[in-house]
């Protein structure tokens, strides 16, 4: 029998990439909104220089989620930024899907090397803390509890911010 050998091009994981893109948009807008209202997040980003950029990127070439520090807040840049001062990589689509859906917290993701960092590690540490706060605003406590080492306190102000995020914050990114 005559066997034909051909190169195999694996299919694209359209569904998972689509979900990651949606979560990136929600997360980016939530960051932009929360960075204007949450005192802890404001404190974390206060020492970053104006114009500081960061991206989350799924290896090898996207999706992307970019943020830029401008006027003491984080501005969501969508997928415009392909390079930044601080780059947070997801090793592949599977890892990004697991972390973004959110089945795995960032500490575990770092421990399992599903996430890695290029840039200033001190700022990355501060960003990870800010990310925990945004996650705790987006998801109910029983989910957040599984993802983080310590659930950030849900102050009255944060409870209000959560309502704001889900009504106008994410839509308007304000």
């Amino acid at each position: 029998m005559n066997v034909q050998y051909r190169p195999i091009v694996p299919s694209i994981k359209r569904f998972k990439i689509f979900v990651i893109k949606i979560v990136f948009i929600v997360l980016g807008r939530a960051f932009q909104s929360a960075s204007q209202h949450d005192e802890e997040i404001k404190k974390e980003i206060s020492s970053w220089r104006d114009g500081f950029t960061l991206i989350m990127k799924v290896m090898p070439d996207g999706p992307y989620m970019g943020l830029e520090k401008k006027n003491n807040m984080l501005e969501f840049k969508g997928s415009q930024l392909k390079q930044a001062d601080l780059e947070i990589y997801f090793r592949n689509v599977e890892s990004a899907f697991m972390i973004m859906t959110p089945q795995m917290g960032s500490h575990q993701a770092f421990a399992e090397r599903r996430m890695s960092i290029k840039g200033d590690l001190g700022i990355a540490t501060a960003f990870t803390r800010a990310l925990v706060i945004v996650m705790s605003l987006l998801y109910p406590e029983f989910i957040v509890k599984r993802l983080v080492k310590r659930v950030p306190p849900l102050t009255l102000k944060r409870a209000g911010l959560r309502v704001w995020l889900y009504t106008f914050g994410i839509v308007l990114a304000r």
């Binding site: 770092f110 890695s116 960092i117 200033d120 590690l121 080492k149």
Partner: protein, 394 residues
């Protein structure tokens, strides 16, 4: 417990034992190197170790490209640039680091610049920025503690821009870690004790933190047991080559453990205190270790308890009920500190180390931005850090 997923990587060849140094020329040849540049410091040279090093190249047919023996105690980018230009002028093709943490980090920095053919280290700072296989690098530690001979990291300060540049990349791993007992014989008692406690912290923190895995656990446990059996002898009888070699091995094993599973709050606090009050790293490790364990106790009691076996031996471990093992582990570390303090005056609190109380909140703030806390089992905020610092003060 087996983690759901982990990675472990250690490609460094370990060469350990009597006259190990004399095998270096043939090892360099295997790596394709013909003109090594030696990076070391005045202390190492003054102790006669450079002479032993040169002698070991006798009749080997190999030329030592250059020897730079003026690395300061804190590795700086200026020195890295200076050594890089000497490396180029003398057409060297490989690097041998002969020294402690600062010398090793400096050598790693030089390797970045000569490999990337650049003069600006800052461009390569950060995690996973480096993309090229580097020149052959052999590390011969003259202290037993940092573990830098088997780690993926280096820290070099940029004096002009006033910042500390961290580098982390698998390419920074040396090709060879060479442990020759002659190289640590002259280390003074206090330095011996401080660096030993650094190694102890590497092993302990790697064993209790979030990135621990069965491979790093094995190295950590073996390192702790070897430190327990040898550290007091190494401090009181520095001329004992067997004991010195055991400490070098323990330090390297602890280095392999933490290079693969990272450290935790003890190191975060130590880096912060070192940066602000210039406490030597090993001294800070000795001060913070029991408090760091106590802080993590609610999150990893079982793992801390398991450390009693390598730390105290089978008899004590078997005699101690499971519910008391974690506390006993901490007690043993406190007792070890006391013994070292009696032997050589190694400080056991911040006050003894020359820290003033007004610096504590600044240290706490720096500690929570130190990347070491990411893998710590318990989330430390500035208030927690300050509470630990107050306990460790006097």
């Amino acid at each position: 417990m087996l983690p759901s997923y982990y990675e472990f990587h250690n490609p460094v060849k370990i060469i350990s034992g009597n006259k190990a140094l004399d095998n270096l020329p043939s090892e360099l040849e295997i790596l394709g190197a013909k003109r090594p540049m030696v990076v070391t410091d005045k202390g190492v040279a003054g102790a006669g170790l450079v002479k032993i090093f040169i002698d070991s190249f006798g009749s080997s047919g190999m030329t030592i490209g250059a020897i730079f023996d003026d690395v300061p105690p804190d590795s700086s980018s200026e020195v890295v640039e200076k050594i890089t230009s000497i490396f180029r002028q003398n057409k060297c093709d490989s690097i041998v680091a002969l020294g402690g943490g600062s010398v090793i980090d400096t050598a790693k920095g030089v390797n970045i610049l000569v490999t990337e053919n650049s003069d600006d280290l800052l461009k390569f700072s950060g995690a996973e920025v480096l993309k090229k296989k580097m020149k052959p690098l052999v590390v011969i530690p003259t202290t037993s503690g940092t573990g830098s001979e088997v780690t993926v990291v280096a820290v070099i300060s940029d004096v002009k821009r006033n910042l500390k540049m961290p580098f982390a990349s698998t390419y920074l791993l040396p090709d060879i870690a060479l442990l020759d007992p002659r190289m640590t014989l002259t280390l003074p008692p206090k330095m011996t004790a401080a660096t030993a406690m650094d190694a102890m912290c590497h092993a302990v923190e790697s064993y209790i933190n979030l990135q621990k895995n069965p491979m790093s656990d094995a190295y950590a446990v073996a390192a702790i047991e070897m430190i327990r059996k040898n550290v007091l002898k190494a401090v009181s009888d520095g001329n004992n080559a067997q004991v010195r070699l055991a400490m070098a091995n323990a330090s390297t094993m602890a280095g392999i453990a933490f290079s693969n599973s990272m450290v935790g709050v003890v190191h975060a606090l130590g880096h912060a205190a070192g940066g602000i009050c210039h406490i030597p790293h090993g001294v800070a490790m000795n001060i913070f270790l029991p408090f760091g364990l106590e802080y993590n106790l609610p999150k990893c009691r079982e793992n801390i308890g398991k450390l009693l076996l390598p730390l105290a031996g089978a008899e004590v471990y078997a005699r101690t009920p499971e519910s008391r093992r974690a506390e006993q582990t901490i007690n043993h570390i406190v007792e070890l500190r006391k013994a070292l303090n009696d032997l050589c005056g190694l400080p056991i609190n911040l006050k003894q180390a020359g820290v003033t109380e007004d610096k504590l909140s600044e240290i706490a703030q720096a500690a929570i931005n130190d990347p070491s806390i990411v893998m710590n089992p318990r989330e430390m905020d500035a208030n927690d850090a300050l509470a630990i610092l107050k306990k460790a003060f006097e």
